[in-house]
């Protein structure tokens, strides 16, 4: 790759890390005009998001910065859209993520989604207050390898075992790994519910999912 092309892709990365929408717009156009492939530009933005995720892990960035980075990336993708053909795929697999029925809290879920996207997963966000039936259907429709469930209210934790039952009934037991989180969820409760993973924080949850994805990749090779 030419030095000029690499320099432009570096501009893509750095403008994303600095949440500079105008600079990202210019860098994306410049990258395409100087001969970069669309996938290279997407990769540069993903690398920028990865740097943002690292800064979050290290305590330099916080949730508002994750949101700003996500918004900046959306703008970059929008600039790139006229040059895109088809859909890009993710090597990490697909994760369906949702807040369970009866619960509308979404901040933790949204942080988890941002970090999962940053880590390279394709994420299907079902939103909040979603029934077990709709969750199972979404896992099936998207051929998801991971299902992330969030609940904050103690009264909605009973949805976890219910969803596990429905997954089994749909023949998805063992095919999709289920991870749960939310302030009132404890490790003991997660174990009792029969899920595959529990995380106290979004960051810890992403690490678990990355390990699962690596295990899956190792099996395939």
């Amino acid at each position: 790759m030419s030095t000029k092309r690499e320099a432009v892709l570096e501009d893509v990365r750095s403008s994303l890390v600095n949440f500079d929408v105008e600079a990202l717009h210019r860098a994306v156009l410049s990258a395409v005009e100087s001969g970069s492939q669309v996938q290279d530009v997407i990769n540069a933005m993903a690398e920028g998001m990865s740097i943002v995720g690292k800064k979050f892990e290290e305590g330099e960035y916080f949730v508002p910065e994750l949101i700003m980075a996500g918004e900046t990336m959306k703008e970059g993708v929008s600039t790139l859209k006229p040059y895109m053909k088809g859909d890009s795929t993710s090597s990490m697999g697909t994760a369906v993520i949702t807040t369970v029925k009866g619960d509308i809290h979404d901040i933790g879920k949204n942080i988890f989604i941002t970090l999962m996207t940053t880590a390279g997963f394709k994420v299907v966000d079902l939103g909040v207050d979603v029934s077990a039936e709709r969750i199972v259907q979404a896992v099936k429709d998207n051929d998801a390898s991971i299902l992330g469930l969030s609940a904050l209210l103690t009264t909605n934790l009973e949805q976890f075992p219910l969803i596990m039952d429905k997954l089994k009934q749909a023949g998805l037991g063992g095919k999709v790994r289920v991870i749960v989180g939310g302030a009132t969820v404890t490790e003991d409760f997660a174990k009792q519910a029969g899920v595959d993973g529990y995380a106290k924080t979004a960051l810890a949850g992403v690490e678990i999912c990355k390990n699962w994805a690596r295990q899956d990749q190792a099996k395939q090779t």
Binding site: F62, P64, I67, K101, I107, G108, V130, A183, Q192
Partner: protein, 390 residues
């Protein structure tokens, strides 16, 4: 109030005053929030037999714990009795209608649509009523863009607050001799914007992209807050409470330093000068914010939630809150039947040991609807043992 051998015991009122004043009140007050548990189980028909047909006050009396009713500005779903009234500007109309609609799941849901019509334009929000009608949450917020922000600024400019003497007198008659009067105020401007007016993600994006306009709005919110505060001046209020719902994932340390700290520093000297104590509701993850709270000038924090529900240990809470008092401290999840009684007992004893005398014990944030309600009596028993040993 006398105990065995004619020993004079402090009343709940006196003990709470001692907490505010930083004295040893010769005993801890247990003041759990049970209103949500009571309302949901009443609506669902699942109240224990002995509480069927009772009012909330009577349940508190039966438990023999301090009531947690407060006098608040008053919105749908708020707790307590109202001592402040909101009066909108003369040329502002407020329209509201409730209706039933299908959810994406196909089930019926109850919604409340509210619209403000002003000479500057209209804004509207949509709220959904929770399953048993005990609360509402925003499906859609009033502020969606800069045009809405301008309308809101006008509403805030024209809004005023009045002291509601009749309601206050009625609340005082019920609780005035039992607990010191506390008034719940609006959230601090940034948290009000996040939770009540715009929603978190949109607000972060707007502050980032339109800093000037959003800072003007925050300044108007602060001016509105001061109006509310000033109505309390000279009234027999002991505690002014900021219902912030603080959580570091929303209000990060940089936001806290930029927006919250200056706000507290401008407003709290006024509260102090009015001869009142100040508290704020910190019910989320707060580990990164606790090191900053000492500089705010707040007298106490409510609902700080330790592990396993929150993100801090009791020791970290105690360290971060030096010089302040704590209201609550028992994670709500510990009231649920799947956590061990032994863990709950150990937790309560540690709280008492570390925080007394700067503690009003309660549940962070409230008693869950599916709690093992007898655990309230279990905790009360531990508190009584502690008080007797003093």
């Amino acid at each position: 109030m006398t105990g065995p051998f004619g020993m004079v015991l402090a009343s709940t009122f006196e003990r709470m005053m001692a907490v505010y004043e930083g004295r040893d009140g010769r005993g801890v007050v247990f003041q759990p929030r049970i209103k949500h548990w009571f309302e949901v189980n009443s609506a669902a028909g699942t109240l224990p037999d002995k509480y069927q047909g009772m009012y909330l006050d009577e349940v508190y009396r039966d438990l023999d714990v301090a009531p947690r009713e407060v006098w608040v500005p008053g919105t749908r779903g708020s707790a307590g009795y109202l001592a402040l009234k909101i009066e909108e500007g003369d040329d502002i109309e407020v329209w509201s209608r409730g209706y039933r609609a299908s959810s994406p799941e196909g089930e019926p849901q109850d919604l409340v649509f509210t619209e403000y019509r002003t000479p500057k334009g209209s804004i509207s929000q949509l709220e959904r009523v929770t399953e048993h009608g005990a609360s509402v949450y925003n499906v859609d917020y009033f502020l969606k863009d800069l045009k809405d922000v301008e309308v809101m600024k006008y509403i805030l400019q024209e809004r005023r607050y009045l002291w509601d003497e009749r309601r206050y007198e009625w609340g005082k008659k019920r609780f005035g001799d039992t607990i010191p009067l506390r008034v719940n105020l609006q959230r601090s401007p940034l948290m009000w914007l996040f939770v009540g007016l715009m929603g978190f993600q949109r607000a972060v994006t707007m502050i980032w992209r339109h800093p000037k306009e959003m800072e003007e709005l925050l300044a108007m919110q602060e001016a509105d807050f001061i109006k509310m505060l000033e109505v309390c001046r000279g009234k027999p209020i002991t505690e002014l409470h900021f219902g912030d719902n603080m959580h570091q994932d929303m209000c990060s340390p940089p936001y806290f330093k930029k927006y919250m700290m200056p706000f507290y520093k401008r407003v709290l000297p006024r509260v102090k000068e009015m001869g009142m104590y100040s508290t704020a509701h910190w019910d989320g993850f707060v580990g990164q914010l606790l090191p900053l709270v000492g500089e705010t000038g707040l007298n106490g924090l409510e609902c700080v939630t330790p592990l396993p529900q929150g993100d801090v240990t009791i020791e970290q809470m105690n360290e971060g809150m030096k010089g302040m008092f704590l209201r609550d401290g028992i994670p709500a999840v510990m009231m649920c039947p799947w956590t061990s009684l032994e863990a709950l007992g150990d937790h309560v004893r540690k709280l008492l040991k570390l925080f007394y005398p700067r503690l009003i014990l309660g549940i962070s944030d409230l008693t869950p609807a599916n709690a093992d309600f007898e655990r309230i009596r279990f905790v009360k028993g531990i508190v009584e043992e502690f008080n007797e040993a003093l």
